[in-house]
Symmetry: C2
Subunit: 216 residues, 2 copies
DNA sequence: CTTATGTTAGTAAATACTAACTAACTTAGG
DNA sequence: CCTAAGTTAGTTAGTATTTACTAACATAAG
Protein backbone atom coordinates (compact mmCIF):
# COMPACT_ATOMS: atom_id res chain seq x y z
CA UNK A 1 0.00 0.00 0.00
CA UNK A 2 2.98 2.19 -0.43
CA UNK A 3 1.69 3.61 -3.68
CA UNK A 4 -1.67 5.33 -3.68
CA UNK A 5 -1.59 5.53 -7.45
CA UNK A 6 -5.03 5.54 -8.99
CA UNK A 7 -3.71 5.28 -12.56
CA UNK A 8 -4.03 2.26 -14.77
CA UNK A 9 -1.70 -0.67 -14.55
CA UNK A 10 0.53 -0.34 -17.60
CA UNK A 11 -0.68 -2.55 -20.39
CA UNK A 12 1.46 -5.47 -21.36
CA UNK A 13 3.69 -4.40 -24.20
CA UNK A 14 2.64 -5.62 -27.59
CA UNK A 15 4.18 -5.35 -31.02
CA UNK A 16 2.56 -2.47 -32.89
CA UNK A 17 0.98 -4.73 -35.47
CA UNK A 18 -0.61 -6.89 -32.79
CA UNK A 19 -1.90 -3.98 -30.80
CA UNK A 20 -3.33 -2.46 -33.93
CA UNK A 21 -5.17 -5.65 -34.71
CA UNK A 22 -6.44 -5.88 -31.16
CA UNK A 23 -7.78 -2.35 -31.29
CA UNK A 24 -9.50 -3.09 -34.60
CA UNK A 25 -11.06 -6.17 -33.09
CA UNK A 26 -12.29 -4.46 -29.94
CA UNK A 27 -13.54 -1.45 -31.86
CA UNK A 28 -15.36 -3.69 -34.33
CA UNK A 29 -17.45 -5.10 -31.56
CA UNK A 30 -18.26 -1.71 -30.11
CA UNK A 31 -19.01 -0.01 -33.42
CA UNK A 32 -21.17 -2.93 -34.42
CA UNK A 33 -23.05 -2.75 -31.14
CA UNK A 34 -23.48 1.00 -30.83
CA UNK A 35 -22.63 2.52 -34.17
CA UNK A 36 -20.04 5.15 -34.90
CA UNK A 37 -21.61 7.95 -32.92
CA UNK A 38 -22.58 5.66 -30.07
CA UNK A 39 -19.02 4.52 -29.49
CA UNK A 40 -16.39 6.61 -27.71
CA UNK A 41 -12.66 6.35 -28.05
CA UNK A 42 -12.42 6.08 -24.28
CA UNK A 43 -14.64 3.02 -24.34
CA UNK A 44 -12.47 1.42 -27.00
CA UNK A 45 -9.32 2.17 -25.04
CA UNK A 46 -10.77 0.75 -21.83
CA UNK A 47 -11.82 -2.48 -23.50
CA UNK A 48 -8.44 -2.81 -25.15
CA UNK A 49 -6.80 -2.26 -21.78
CA UNK A 50 -4.74 0.71 -22.91
CA UNK A 51 -4.89 4.44 -22.52
CA UNK A 52 -6.83 6.53 -24.99
CA UNK A 53 -3.68 8.07 -26.42
CA UNK A 54 -2.60 4.68 -27.75
CA UNK A 55 -5.61 4.58 -30.02
CA UNK A 56 -4.44 7.78 -31.64
CA UNK A 57 -0.92 6.49 -32.01
CA UNK A 58 -2.26 3.78 -34.30
CA UNK A 59 -5.03 5.70 -36.00
CA UNK A 60 -4.96 9.43 -36.68
CA UNK A 61 -8.70 9.86 -36.06
CA UNK A 62 -11.71 7.90 -34.92
CA UNK A 63 -12.94 7.97 -38.51
CA UNK A 64 -9.70 6.41 -39.71
CA UNK A 65 -10.14 3.59 -37.24
CA UNK A 66 -13.66 3.02 -38.49
CA UNK A 67 -12.41 2.97 -42.07
CA UNK A 68 -9.72 0.46 -41.18
CA UNK A 69 -12.38 -1.80 -39.72
CA UNK A 70 -14.59 -1.61 -42.78
CA UNK A 71 -11.58 -2.22 -44.94
CA UNK A 72 -10.66 -5.28 -42.93
CA UNK A 73 -14.16 -6.68 -42.88
CA UNK A 74 -14.55 -6.06 -46.58
CA UNK A 75 -11.46 -8.06 -47.42
CA UNK A 76 -12.39 -10.82 -45.03
CA UNK A 77 -15.82 -11.12 -46.56
CA UNK A 78 -14.53 -10.97 -50.10
CA UNK A 79 -12.15 -13.84 -49.53
CA UNK A 80 -14.81 -15.95 -47.89
CA UNK A 81 -17.08 -15.35 -50.82
CA UNK A 82 -14.54 -15.98 -53.54
CA UNK A 83 -13.60 -19.32 -52.13
CA UNK A 84 -17.20 -20.36 -51.88
CA UNK A 85 -18.37 -19.06 -55.21
CA UNK A 86 -15.50 -20.65 -57.09
CA UNK A 87 -16.40 -24.12 -56.02
CA UNK A 88 -20.10 -23.77 -56.77
CA UNK A 89 -19.57 -22.01 -60.05
CA UNK A 90 -19.58 -24.49 -62.86
CA UNK A 91 -21.96 -27.16 -61.68
CA UNK A 92 -25.47 -27.01 -62.91
CA UNK A 93 -27.21 -28.55 -59.95
CA UNK A 94 -29.66 -25.78 -59.22
CA UNK A 95 -30.75 -27.12 -55.86
CA UNK A 96 -27.17 -27.33 -54.66
CA UNK A 97 -26.30 -23.94 -56.07
CA UNK A 98 -29.08 -22.07 -54.35
CA UNK A 99 -29.17 -24.28 -51.30
CA UNK A 100 -25.52 -24.00 -50.40
CA UNK A 101 -25.56 -20.28 -51.02
CA UNK A 102 -28.55 -19.80 -48.74
CA UNK A 103 -27.01 -21.93 -46.05
CA UNK A 104 -23.73 -20.10 -46.38
CA UNK A 105 -25.27 -16.66 -46.04
CA UNK A 106 -27.36 -17.67 -43.05
CA UNK A 107 -24.40 -19.27 -41.34
CA UNK A 108 -22.04 -16.38 -41.95
CA UNK A 109 -24.37 -13.97 -40.26
CA UNK A 110 -25.22 -16.36 -37.50
CA UNK A 111 -21.58 -16.91 -36.65
CA UNK A 112 -20.63 -13.26 -36.90
CA UNK A 113 -23.61 -11.00 -36.24
CA UNK A 114 -21.31 -8.00 -35.94
CA UNK A 115 -20.83 -8.15 -39.67
CA UNK A 116 -24.42 -7.43 -40.55
CA UNK A 117 -24.74 -4.77 -37.89
CA UNK A 118 -21.63 -2.98 -39.15
CA UNK A 119 -22.97 -3.19 -42.66
CA UNK A 120 -26.28 -1.70 -41.66
CA UNK A 121 -24.81 0.99 -39.45
CA UNK A 122 -22.35 2.06 -42.10
CA UNK A 123 -25.12 2.29 -44.67
CA UNK A 124 -27.38 4.28 -42.38
CA UNK A 125 -24.67 6.56 -41.10
CA UNK A 126 -23.51 7.17 -44.64
CA UNK A 127 -19.90 6.25 -44.14
CA UNK A 128 -17.70 6.98 -47.11
CA UNK A 129 -16.78 3.33 -47.45
CA UNK A 130 -20.32 2.08 -46.97
CA UNK A 131 -20.86 1.60 -50.67
CA UNK A 132 -17.69 -0.35 -51.09
CA UNK A 133 -18.55 -2.39 -48.04
CA UNK A 134 -21.92 -3.27 -49.49
CA UNK A 135 -20.47 -3.99 -52.92
CA UNK A 136 -18.06 -6.49 -51.51
CA UNK A 137 -20.83 -8.46 -49.90
CA UNK A 138 -24.41 -8.51 -51.02
CA UNK A 139 -23.76 -7.11 -54.44
CA UNK A 140 -21.04 -9.53 -55.36
CA UNK A 141 -23.24 -12.42 -54.35
CA UNK A 142 -26.17 -10.99 -56.18
CA UNK A 143 -24.21 -10.58 -59.39
CA UNK A 144 -23.01 -14.13 -59.11
CA UNK A 145 -26.58 -15.35 -58.74
CA UNK A 146 -27.70 -13.11 -61.55
CA UNK A 147 -25.20 -14.60 -63.96
CA UNK A 148 -26.18 -18.10 -62.96
CA UNK A 149 -29.86 -17.39 -63.49
CA UNK A 150 -29.17 -15.77 -66.83
CA UNK A 151 -27.27 -18.83 -67.94
CA UNK A 152 -29.97 -21.21 -66.81
CA UNK A 153 -32.58 -19.18 -68.63
CA UNK A 154 -30.47 -19.51 -71.74
CA UNK A 155 -30.28 -23.24 -71.04
CA UNK A 156 -34.05 -23.32 -71.08
CA UNK A 157 -34.16 -24.55 -67.50
CA UNK A 158 -35.59 -21.41 -65.93
CA UNK A 159 -38.52 -19.23 -66.78
CA UNK A 160 -37.88 -16.02 -68.58
CA UNK A 161 -37.70 -13.74 -65.55
CA UNK A 162 -35.68 -10.59 -64.97
CA UNK A 163 -32.36 -11.97 -63.69
CA UNK A 164 -31.51 -8.84 -61.71
CA UNK A 165 -34.79 -8.82 -59.88
CA UNK A 166 -34.76 -12.54 -59.30
CA UNK A 167 -31.23 -12.52 -57.98
CA UNK A 168 -31.85 -9.65 -55.61
CA UNK A 169 -35.06 -11.29 -54.49
CA UNK A 170 -33.33 -14.50 -53.60
CA UNK A 171 -30.55 -12.74 -51.75
CA UNK A 172 -33.08 -10.43 -50.11
CA UNK A 173 -35.24 -13.27 -48.94
CA UNK A 174 -32.27 -14.83 -47.22
CA UNK A 175 -30.73 -11.67 -45.84
CA UNK A 176 -34.04 -10.52 -44.45
CA UNK A 177 -34.26 -13.68 -42.39
CA UNK A 178 -30.68 -13.16 -41.30
CA UNK A 179 -31.47 -9.57 -40.36
CA UNK A 180 -34.42 -10.49 -38.22
CA UNK A 181 -32.32 -13.08 -36.51
CA UNK A 182 -29.44 -10.70 -35.89
CA UNK A 183 -31.52 -7.71 -34.84
CA UNK A 184 -34.18 -9.36 -32.80
CA UNK A 185 -32.40 -12.37 -31.40
CA UNK A 186 -33.98 -13.58 -28.17
CA UNK A 187 -37.05 -11.44 -28.59
CA UNK A 188 -40.56 -12.40 -29.50
CA UNK A 189 -40.05 -10.80 -32.87
CA UNK A 190 -37.98 -13.64 -34.20
CA UNK A 191 -40.57 -16.36 -33.79
CA UNK A 192 -39.26 -18.79 -36.35
CA UNK A 193 -37.11 -21.38 -34.68
CA UNK A 194 -35.44 -23.30 -37.44
CA UNK A 195 -31.86 -24.34 -37.95
CA UNK A 196 -29.99 -22.59 -40.73
CA UNK A 197 -30.08 -25.80 -42.70
CA UNK A 198 -33.82 -26.21 -42.45
CA UNK A 199 -34.35 -22.57 -43.26
CA UNK A 200 -32.04 -22.75 -46.25
CA UNK A 201 -33.90 -25.75 -47.59
CA UNK A 202 -37.28 -24.08 -47.29
CA UNK A 203 -36.09 -20.85 -48.83
CA UNK A 204 -34.42 -22.60 -51.72
CA UNK A 205 -37.43 -24.75 -52.43
CA UNK A 206 -39.67 -21.73 -52.31
CA UNK A 207 -37.50 -19.83 -54.71
CA UNK A 208 -36.78 -22.77 -56.97
CA UNK A 209 -40.33 -23.70 -57.59
CA UNK A 210 -40.88 -20.20 -58.66
CA UNK A 211 -38.11 -19.94 -61.08
CA UNK A 212 -37.97 -23.43 -62.52
CA UNK A 213 -39.91 -24.00 -65.64
CA UNK A 214 -43.17 -25.72 -64.88
CA UNK A 215 -43.85 -29.18 -66.06
CA UNK A 216 -46.71 -29.28 -68.43
CA UNK B 1 -28.18 48.75 -36.91
CA UNK B 2 -29.61 50.19 -33.77
CA UNK B 3 -29.71 46.86 -32.05
CA UNK B 4 -26.50 44.87 -31.84
CA UNK B 5 -28.41 41.93 -30.49
CA UNK B 6 -26.88 38.66 -31.57
CA UNK B 7 -29.73 36.60 -30.16
CA UNK B 8 -32.35 34.82 -32.17
CA UNK B 9 -35.44 36.53 -33.42
CA UNK B 10 -38.20 35.29 -31.14
CA UNK B 11 -40.07 32.46 -32.79
CA UNK B 12 -43.63 33.05 -33.79
CA UNK B 13 -45.82 31.91 -30.95
CA UNK B 14 -47.53 28.63 -31.52
CA UNK B 15 -50.08 26.63 -29.58
CA UNK B 16 -48.30 24.00 -27.52
CA UNK B 17 -49.85 21.14 -29.41
CA UNK B 18 -48.73 22.56 -32.75
CA UNK B 19 -45.24 23.29 -31.59
CA UNK B 20 -45.00 19.81 -30.19
CA UNK B 21 -46.03 18.33 -33.48
CA UNK B 22 -43.56 20.51 -35.33
CA UNK B 23 -40.73 19.42 -33.10
CA UNK B 24 -41.68 15.80 -33.61
CA UNK B 25 -41.68 16.34 -37.34
CA UNK B 26 -38.33 18.08 -37.47
CA UNK B 27 -36.75 15.61 -35.08
CA UNK B 28 -38.08 12.70 -37.12
CA UNK B 29 -36.15 13.85 -40.12
CA UNK B 30 -32.96 14.34 -38.18
CA UNK B 31 -33.14 11.10 -36.21
CA UNK B 32 -33.91 9.24 -39.40
CA UNK B 33 -30.94 10.82 -41.12
CA UNK B 34 -28.36 10.59 -38.36
CA UNK B 35 -29.72 8.24 -35.75
CA UNK B 36 -30.25 8.99 -32.09
CA UNK B 37 -26.64 9.51 -31.16
CA UNK B 38 -25.90 11.44 -34.32
CA UNK B 39 -28.56 14.02 -33.66
CA UNK B 40 -28.21 16.85 -31.14
CA UNK B 41 -30.96 18.73 -29.40
CA UNK B 42 -29.38 21.96 -30.57
CA UNK B 43 -29.72 20.83 -34.17
CA UNK B 44 -33.37 20.02 -33.63
CA UNK B 45 -34.01 23.38 -32.01
CA UNK B 46 -32.28 25.26 -34.81
CA UNK B 47 -34.28 23.50 -37.49
CA UNK B 48 -37.50 24.10 -35.60
CA UNK B 49 -36.58 27.77 -35.30
CA UNK B 50 -36.76 27.84 -31.52
CA UNK B 51 -34.32 27.83 -28.66
CA UNK B 52 -33.12 24.59 -27.21
CA UNK B 53 -34.98 25.12 -23.97
CA UNK B 54 -38.29 24.86 -25.80
CA UNK B 55 -37.52 21.29 -26.74
CA UNK B 56 -37.27 20.44 -23.07
CA UNK B 57 -40.46 22.27 -22.26
CA UNK B 58 -42.29 19.77 -24.46
CA UNK B 59 -40.22 16.66 -23.80
CA UNK B 60 -38.47 15.91 -20.52
CA UNK B 61 -35.50 14.24 -22.21
CA UNK B 62 -34.09 13.57 -25.64
CA UNK B 63 -35.04 9.93 -25.17
CA UNK B 64 -38.63 10.90 -24.47
CA UNK B 65 -38.74 12.85 -27.71
CA UNK B 66 -37.42 9.85 -29.58
CA UNK B 67 -40.02 7.65 -27.96
CA UNK B 68 -42.76 10.07 -28.91
CA UNK B 69 -41.61 9.87 -32.51
CA UNK B 70 -41.60 6.11 -32.59
CA UNK B 71 -44.98 6.10 -30.95
CA UNK B 72 -46.32 8.49 -33.56
CA UNK B 73 -44.84 6.62 -36.48
CA UNK B 74 -46.09 3.33 -35.11
CA UNK B 75 -49.67 4.54 -34.94
CA UNK B 76 -49.44 6.16 -38.35
CA UNK B 77 -48.16 2.95 -39.87
CA UNK B 78 -50.69 0.81 -38.05
CA UNK B 79 -53.59 2.83 -39.38
CA UNK B 80 -52.26 2.78 -42.89
CA UNK B 81 -51.95 -0.96 -42.70
CA UNK B 82 -55.30 -1.66 -41.15
CA UNK B 83 -57.13 0.27 -43.81
CA UNK B 84 -55.28 -1.55 -46.51
CA UNK B 85 -55.44 -5.02 -45.09
CA UNK B 86 -59.16 -4.79 -44.40
CA UNK B 87 -60.04 -4.20 -47.99
CA UNK B 88 -57.84 -6.96 -49.34
CA UNK B 89 -58.79 -9.46 -46.67
CA UNK B 90 -61.66 -11.52 -47.87
CA UNK B 91 -61.07 -11.77 -51.58
CA UNK B 92 -59.32 -14.81 -52.85
CA UNK B 93 -57.62 -13.33 -55.84
CA UNK B 94 -54.07 -14.32 -55.03
CA UNK B 95 -52.47 -12.14 -57.63
CA UNK B 96 -54.29 -9.08 -56.36
CA UNK B 97 -53.59 -9.95 -52.76
CA UNK B 98 -49.85 -10.26 -53.13
CA UNK B 99 -49.55 -7.71 -55.86
CA UNK B 100 -51.28 -4.89 -54.06
CA UNK B 101 -49.41 -5.66 -50.87
CA UNK B 102 -46.08 -5.56 -52.66
CA UNK B 103 -46.93 -2.34 -54.39
CA UNK B 104 -48.15 -0.84 -51.16
CA UNK B 105 -45.01 -1.67 -49.23
CA UNK B 106 -42.75 -0.38 -51.97
CA UNK B 107 -44.72 2.84 -52.30
CA UNK B 108 -44.88 3.51 -48.58
CA UNK B 109 -41.12 3.38 -48.28
CA UNK B 110 -40.56 5.29 -51.46
CA UNK B 111 -42.80 8.13 -50.32
CA UNK B 112 -41.43 8.22 -46.81
CA UNK B 113 -37.88 6.90 -46.66
CA UNK B 114 -37.49 8.25 -43.14
CA UNK B 115 -39.76 5.50 -41.93
CA UNK B 116 -37.47 2.67 -42.89
CA UNK B 117 -34.40 4.49 -41.66
CA UNK B 118 -36.01 5.14 -38.29
CA UNK B 119 -37.03 1.51 -38.09
CA UNK B 120 -33.53 0.33 -38.85
CA UNK B 121 -31.83 2.81 -36.56
CA UNK B 122 -34.12 1.99 -33.68
CA UNK B 123 -33.49 -1.72 -34.13
CA UNK B 124 -29.73 -1.28 -34.33
CA UNK B 125 -29.51 1.17 -31.48
CA UNK B 126 -31.69 -1.08 -29.38
CA UNK B 127 -34.30 1.45 -28.46
CA UNK B 128 -36.78 0.25 -25.90
CA UNK B 129 -39.66 0.73 -28.32
CA UNK B 130 -37.84 -0.84 -31.24
CA UNK B 131 -39.62 -4.12 -30.84
CA UNK B 132 -43.01 -2.52 -30.69
CA UNK B 133 -42.11 -0.39 -33.68
CA UNK B 134 -41.19 -3.44 -35.67
CA UNK B 135 -44.24 -5.36 -34.53
CA UNK B 136 -46.53 -2.65 -35.77
CA UNK B 137 -45.09 -2.81 -39.23
CA UNK B 138 -43.36 -5.78 -40.74
CA UNK B 139 -44.70 -8.28 -38.26
CA UNK B 140 -48.30 -7.29 -38.59
CA UNK B 141 -48.05 -7.55 -42.34
CA UNK B 142 -46.26 -10.82 -42.12
CA UNK B 143 -48.92 -12.32 -39.88
CA UNK B 144 -51.58 -11.18 -42.24
CA UNK B 145 -49.80 -12.84 -45.13
CA UNK B 146 -49.20 -15.93 -43.05
CA UNK B 147 -52.88 -16.34 -42.30
CA UNK B 148 -53.76 -15.85 -45.92
CA UNK B 149 -51.27 -18.46 -47.05
CA UNK B 150 -52.46 -20.89 -44.42
CA UNK B 151 -56.00 -20.49 -45.62
CA UNK B 152 -55.07 -20.97 -49.25
CA UNK B 153 -53.13 -24.09 -48.39
CA UNK B 154 -56.25 -25.39 -46.70
CA UNK B 155 -58.16 -24.46 -49.83
CA UNK B 156 -55.79 -26.67 -51.77
CA UNK B 157 -54.66 -23.74 -53.87
CA UNK B 158 -51.13 -23.49 -52.50
CA UNK B 159 -48.40 -26.01 -51.95
CA UNK B 160 -47.88 -27.33 -48.48
CA UNK B 161 -45.15 -24.91 -47.43
CA UNK B 162 -44.34 -23.48 -44.02
CA UNK B 163 -46.63 -20.43 -43.84
CA UNK B 164 -44.38 -18.53 -41.44
CA UNK B 165 -41.33 -18.94 -43.60
CA UNK B 166 -43.19 -18.20 -46.79
CA UNK B 167 -44.80 -15.09 -45.37
CA UNK B 168 -41.55 -13.71 -44.05
CA UNK B 169 -39.86 -14.54 -47.31
CA UNK B 170 -42.39 -12.60 -49.33
CA UNK B 171 -42.22 -9.62 -47.04
CA UNK B 172 -38.44 -9.90 -46.91
CA UNK B 173 -38.11 -10.02 -50.66
CA UNK B 174 -40.04 -6.79 -50.92
CA UNK B 175 -38.52 -4.99 -47.98
CA UNK B 176 -35.03 -5.85 -49.12
CA UNK B 177 -35.68 -4.08 -52.40
CA UNK B 178 -37.12 -1.16 -50.49
CA UNK B 179 -34.07 -1.10 -48.24
CA UNK B 180 -31.62 -1.00 -51.08
CA UNK B 181 -33.61 1.78 -52.64
CA UNK B 182 -33.77 3.80 -49.44
CA UNK B 183 -30.19 3.25 -48.35
CA UNK B 184 -28.40 3.48 -51.63
CA UNK B 185 -30.55 5.85 -53.59
CA UNK B 186 -28.62 7.63 -56.31
CA UNK B 187 -25.62 5.38 -55.99
CA UNK B 188 -24.36 2.68 -58.29
CA UNK B 189 -25.46 0.12 -55.74
CA UNK B 190 -29.11 0.43 -56.64
CA UNK B 191 -28.84 -0.55 -60.26
CA UNK B 192 -32.37 -1.73 -60.84
CA UNK B 193 -34.40 1.05 -62.36
CA UNK B 194 -37.97 -0.10 -62.26
CA UNK B 195 -41.14 1.61 -61.15
CA UNK B 196 -42.73 0.32 -57.99
CA UNK B 197 -45.51 -1.12 -60.07
CA UNK B 198 -43.20 -3.05 -62.36
CA UNK B 199 -41.18 -4.26 -59.42
CA UNK B 200 -44.28 -5.35 -57.53
CA UNK B 201 -45.48 -7.33 -60.53
CA UNK B 202 -42.20 -9.14 -60.94
CA UNK B 203 -41.88 -9.92 -57.28
CA UNK B 204 -45.40 -11.19 -57.03
CA UNK B 205 -45.08 -13.35 -60.09
CA UNK B 206 -41.82 -14.75 -58.78
CA UNK B 207 -43.33 -15.57 -55.43
CA UNK B 208 -46.64 -16.81 -56.81
CA UNK B 209 -45.20 -19.28 -59.18
CA UNK B 210 -43.34 -20.67 -56.27
CA UNK B 211 -46.20 -21.08 -53.96
CA UNK B 212 -49.03 -21.97 -56.29
CA UNK B 213 -49.65 -25.59 -56.83
CA UNK B 214 -48.20 -26.70 -60.13
CA UNK B 215 -50.34 -27.84 -62.96
CA UNK B 216 -49.77 -31.40 -63.83
C1' DC C 1 -53.41 40.37 -14.27
C1' DT C 2 -52.46 35.74 -15.41
C1' DT C 3 -50.92 32.31 -18.11
C1' DA C 4 -48.66 30.26 -21.78
C1' DT C 5 -44.81 30.58 -24.88
C1' DG C 6 -40.66 32.24 -25.64
C1' DT C 7 -35.29 33.58 -24.67
C1' DT C 8 -30.70 33.91 -22.32
C1' DA C 9 -27.10 32.30 -20.09
C1' DG C 10 -25.52 29.22 -18.02
C1' DT C 11 -23.61 24.06 -15.91
C1' DA C 12 -21.46 19.69 -15.33
C1' DA C 13 -20.12 15.98 -17.84
C1' DA C 14 -18.41 13.89 -21.98
C1' DT C 15 -15.68 13.78 -26.16
C1' DA C 16 -11.99 13.66 -29.69
C1' DC C 17 -7.52 14.58 -29.68
C1' DT C 18 -2.57 16.35 -28.04
C1' DA C 19 1.87 17.39 -25.65
C1' DA C 20 5.07 15.89 -22.72
C1' DC C 21 6.96 12.40 -20.08
C1' DT C 22 8.38 7.25 -18.83
C1' DA C 23 9.41 2.49 -19.00
C1' DA C 24 10.53 -1.53 -21.63
C1' DC C 25 12.77 -3.84 -25.32
C1' DT C 26 16.76 -3.98 -28.88
C1' DT C 27 21.19 -3.62 -30.17
C1' DA C 28 26.12 -1.93 -30.77
C1' DG C 29 30.74 -1.41 -28.71
C1' DG C 30 33.89 -2.64 -25.34
C1' DC D 1 28.63 -10.82 -21.22
C1' DC D 2 27.50 -5.90 -19.89
C1' DT D 3 26.12 -1.58 -20.38
C1' DA D 4 24.72 2.67 -22.77
C1' DA D 5 22.12 4.60 -26.44
C1' DG D 6 18.32 4.51 -29.35
C1' DT D 7 13.70 3.13 -30.37
C1' DT D 8 9.16 1.69 -29.45
C1' DA D 9 5.02 1.17 -26.61
C1' DG D 10 3.08 2.91 -22.99
C1' DT D 11 1.00 6.74 -19.45
C1' DT D 12 -0.68 11.23 -17.53
C1' DA D 13 -2.79 15.23 -17.65
C1' DG D 14 -4.49 18.06 -19.97
C1' DT D 15 -7.54 21.28 -23.88
C1' DA D 16 -11.18 23.21 -26.51
C1' DT D 17 -15.71 21.89 -27.86
C1' DT D 18 -19.85 19.82 -27.62
C1' DT D 19 -23.82 18.03 -25.27
C1' DA D 20 -28.09 17.33 -22.64
C1' DC D 21 -30.42 19.85 -19.65
C1' DT D 22 -31.84 23.91 -16.20
C1' DA D 23 -32.95 28.26 -13.78
C1' DA D 24 -34.33 32.62 -14.21
C1' DC D 25 -36.19 36.12 -16.80
C1' DA D 26 -39.24 38.35 -20.79
C1' DT D 27 -43.24 39.13 -23.48
C1' DA D 28 -47.50 38.19 -26.25
C1' DA D 29 -52.45 36.94 -25.75
C1' DG D 30 -56.83 36.58 -23.57
Amino acid sequence: MASTSTGRAPATRMAAVDRRQQIVSVASELFSKNGFNGTTTKEIADRAGVSEAIIFRHFPTKQALYSAIIDFKTKQSSERLQSHLKEAASRKDDLAFFGSLALDLLEVHKKDPTFMRLLMFSALEGHELAEMFYQSTAREVRNHVRRYIKQRIADGAFQNVDPSVAARSFVGMILYHAQVRVLYVDTSVDDIRLSSRQMAERLTSLFMNGICRRRR
